[in-house]
Symmetry: C2
Subunit: 360 residues, 2 copies
DNA sequence: AGCAAAATTTGAATCGATCCAACAAAGATG
DNA sequence: CATCTTTGTTGGATCGATTCAAATTTTGCT
């Protein structure tokens, strides 16, 4: 059931086999990294010595120090590591990042940590050439931490207002406008918004003043877009309930409860993420409200799952994989420039949106 | 739209700030790694110098070489990197691995590559303390490659017959027995098997002799389990169609076509993965066959998605996250022993299995 | 003040490779 | 035969930190 492998002898180094083969360490090194420049006879001798001594090949640790390049990019977040494998948005993004990394043979190192202190340490000590930052919440802390590392990095998703940091994201205002316009055009006039966080550690209903002072620019922009489009249809945006969630099941459900507790329930829900939109559909259906018969729901993101839920979700599709790919390329081909890219979004109409009920 | 960051001056090293602060490297090093042992006055002076010179903190590259420990574990596969974010089984496994890594603050490095050659290089040069190997296909190549690296590693999932390599998996024979027994007990007598690959680069229907010589032990064991349980019910296992797929949509559909092309279609399908089982349910439903009314389907793995599909999938649940956790712990707490663990599985009865149709 | 014990600081050694200028040997050319 | 190439090899310097035994300074106590 258990047997010992290898004695705990000090591992053989390049220098050891160089000595054994009677060549200099320079030559020994060449045998492995540029075999073509060393004479065949010598090459064979060194390889034989390596084989005989059980040399595992040049240790990447040593090479790294000399070369300076790790050939891996770090992807960091304040969420636990499992976020990368569970959240649909993160997964789609990672797929894009993976693609770019696969193409150049670069590796991916996942960086995260339960607590604040460990996160700092992990970012400090990650062996990477640069970082891609998932700035869901606590983006600014993450950016600060990473800035100290003095490596190239790029902020993702909701972006970051600071013009000195590279960022890739979408035009949130335009996307939100598209979403609201679509619903208003269908005839809806009573809306509710399921919002992403406005600032750290908050959740609950949001007042108009709070909206104006939103800290997270992505959230603010989406709201601005919604309101802009709706006012054009004569909707009084000040009267629209905005409920801030943490983009998870519990807080979204709480938001829905609050929104539908009032006397005049909305006929359309603007959700700032597909995740919330899908939770909303489930919640509404379970409550006996038809989607889109009684209430229309529109999401934001365009995660693959949105096409599969029942009814399929109308949403604003971001080019998620493309964002990931570009982020990776930004790090891989880093040139010292601050690069800020704003990609376009697209309205994808599926079955979760339709005209409001006649009775309303 | 683009501005230059930092001149390309050589980055400051610990030695630089040591000189600037008028202390030795040793002391400067201590300021960062064991601040408590250096006198406050000195500590402040060094920190001030670091601040003034824009020192990013001890470079992990240097530390690494000295310490020897990377504090990260590599997860390798022959599939493209995106496999980790797309395949449900891989994702569930990664969640378990993540958990263990989060707990100890270890990082995760994803290792993969499009072609064979690059994979070898990536495994050779990955900065990790050990590897977890996803041996879906080409497990033996992966194991050989990794063995050369002379780092601890553990093989996952379908395991590996070689007793000299650490492996963690489930009792495939028992699980398969459970699955077949469940269906036979419900009254089914006509079966078909959707099988995982038997060996590299194969796909299609499988003859009984081929079954006996299956190379991948996981596949073989599941088949053995199925047949064992069925023979106990008097089923002629030699007559059961076994179709080998690549666990993807295309080959699974092809398998279903082949299976249902014959005159006497099966009333129950034994799928060796939930992935295939879910594809089968979709295929059957689209064909107008009721599940489980006309055909029962049982999967294998117990991925979270299996509970969500329609109808919810009856399956053999592996403790996927637990396997991941143990694999990570095996590397993190490596003690030089070969560890082979076989975990138990559990029959989870949901709605995709029921008695065979009366007319059959 | 005198001295031992405790607390700090020093500087050389080390981790494991790669790089490169200098050198040596063999071959080509006049 | 002397000189120039070409090809292959050498060994010191370097990457950026950590470690530890020895040296030095402080502190505690009589």
């Amino acid at each position: 059931m258990a047997s010992s492998t290898e004695g705990n002898t000090r591992p053989v180094r390049l220098a050891d086999i160089a000595k054994a083969a009677g060549v200099s360490h320079g030559t020994a090194s060449n045998v492995f990294s540029r075999p073509e420049i060393v004479r065949e006879e010598v090459r064979e001798r060194v390889k034989a010595a390596a084989e005989a001594m059980g040399y595992a090949g040049p240790d990447p640790k040593g090479r790294l120090l000399r070369a300076g390049k790790v050939n891996a990019i770090g992807v960091a977040t304040t969420e636990p590591l499992s976020y990368f494998f569970e959240d649909p948005f993160a997964r789609a993004m990672m797929a894009g990042i993976s693609e770019a990394c696969d193409a150049t043979g670069a590796g991916i190192a996942l960086v995260s940590a339960g607590n604040q202190e460990k996160l700092a340490w992990n970012i400090q000590s990650a062996l990477v050439d640069g970082f891609i930052l998932f700035c869901i919440e606590g983006g600014s802390r993450l950016v600060e931490l990473t800035r100290e590392r003095k490596l190239p990095f790029v902020a993702l998703e909701l972006g970051f207002d600071d013009d000195t940091v590279s960022a890739i994201g979408v035009d949130n205002v335009a996307g939100a406008r598209l979403a609201a316009h679509h619903l208003a055009e269908l005839g809806h006039r009573r809306f509710a918004v399921l919002s992403l966080p406005f600032a750290d550690d908050r959740t609950g209903p949001v007042s108009p003043e709070q909206v104006r002072t939103a800290v997270y620019p992505g959230t603010r922009d989406r709201l601005v877009g919604y309101f802009e489009a709706l006012s054009r249809f004569g909707v009084d945006t000040a009267g629209i309930p905005v409920y801030e969630t943490e983009n998870d099941e519990a807080s979204t459900r709480a938001g829905l409860e609050a929104i539908f507790a009032g006397g005049e329930p909305p006929t359309a829900i603007l959700a700032m993420s597909d995740r919330m939109a899908m939770i909303a559909i489930e919640w509404l259906t379970a409550r006996g409200l038809a989607v889109p018969g009684d209430v229309s729901v529109i999401g934001f993101d365009g995660v693959p799952e949105a096409a599969l839920c029942d009814p399929p979700l109308t949403t604003i599709a971001q080019p998620i994989a493309e964002i990931g790919r570009r982020a990776a390329r930004t790090i891989l081909d880093f040139d010292g420039m601050v690069r800020r890219e704003r990609l376009g979004v697209e309205l994808v109409v599926r079955a979760s949106s339709g005209p409001p009920p006649k009775t309303a």
